[in-house]
Symmetry: D2
């Protein structure tokens, strides 16, 4: 088994702040990330990215290179991790996530992040369709 940890949408633009709804998730993902690093398991942050031409109305924040699209400070440093941007709901949408996992030799993805009933769910389905083994961590 060659696993990777995929952390979804832990981005500044979603306003994760102490006391906000679901903030306890941040500490759990911090521990997961640290454990992955300790075990030599690659960590991939997948955040949303929107372009002006997307025409997605209120969802049209998180432009390339903005603070909003970046990983929240609680999960820094990201220097040894991979950062990939998804263009819609699923973590594999219109980007190089599958390609990059393939070059890493990864066959199993451990998914974490937000939201369980939306982006994490869709990403699990996509990973399954690409035939990765999927765990929700």
């Amino acid at each position: 088994m060659q696993p990777a940890v995929i952390i979804l949408d832990m981005a500044n633009g979603y306003h994760w702040t102490p006391g906000s709804y679901g903030y306890e998730l941040v500490a759990r993902i911090r521990r997961l990330k640290d454990a992955a690093h300790a075990a030599g398991v690659p960590v991939v942050h997948v955040n949303s990215m929107r372009r002006p031409s997307d025409n997605l109305g209120t969802r049209a924040n998180m432009s390339p290179g903005t603070e909003a699209a970046g990983v929240i400070p609680e999960l820094h440093a990201v220097d040894e991790d991979t950062i990939i941007y998804k263009r819609f709901t699923g973590g594999f949408s219109h980007n190089d996530l599958d390609y990059t996992l393939r070059t890493m030799g990864v066959d199993t993805v451990c998914l974490a992040g937000a939201s369980t009933d939306n982006c994490v769910l869709w990403t699990a389905g996509e990973a399954d369709q690409y035939r990765y083994k999927v765990a929700h961590c």
Copy 2:
């Protein structure tokens, strides 16, 4: 017809300097880009990007966010343009180029950049497979 201009691999990492082989291309692309802007035609810069896990040997430069992966200064400013990174040879490889052109309503791509017999050729083939009308500008 809804065209877009796609400019391939005019990146700092390829060492475009006055007098170097093919440098006259830069001025021609500058004129094409200015004409596109004047006509309200979107301009998309597509540069190569490599990750450490790519295992591509000597091709493993142009990491995300590096100077090498950026558009050459002769073709700045890029603020009103779209910048997309390709992960292999073709402009559509493992990225959101097709998705972004679709959201723009583009049906015709005018290709320019380097090299005609490599990335431009492969991008033309990919664009054809996605059923864009293709012009080499």
Copy 3:
């Protein structure tokens, strides 16, 4: 608006028989298909297909060209429709559905078929990611 009707997994291999669970769906889809034909709206049947190398255990029925993979007789004739095979859960998985809809100029998909909480749901998500307008019919 350029719609198409997408009918999912109404295949012989799922044993649709009068009196079986959900069989009333068949008559509703028959009416939808007839209405689509009457209105000149293209109908696309998307059924599952598995290959021996898929290694999907009990899901490994519905091989190419088999009776099991075919559209149920209640929804025949299919001569003027398009038949596409999906390779996993979603209607767009590893096939030419997006490409074919694109060549048809379709921008809106009306989804029907089985099962609402599985293949139809995943197909709706995929269609959304490709930026089709989605209706569940």
Copy 4:
């Protein structure tokens, strides 16, 4: 190394007949296919397929299920092989070739068929972009 042999466009619709241009290719591919079978290497036939909605003018032959789209008799039987249809020039275009090779655990493709300077070339490029090792057999 886990190889597969990919045989491109050896289809009835291209009128391979003894004495016609390039017909000696057929015997070479027959030997390659027999050698692959003898070695337990999977063989994948990839032929073109067009739909009425493709709007490709004179290229719009080879509809699903037609004789024209089938493998030429000189390369039968195909029962133990995989048959996949490509929707445009490249062998990976809008189909399940990559997915199927992945499920097979294939990492190396040996390409044969027609034409070397067109479909075989494009398929080599696509295979390279998906990071298969590529041989032209």
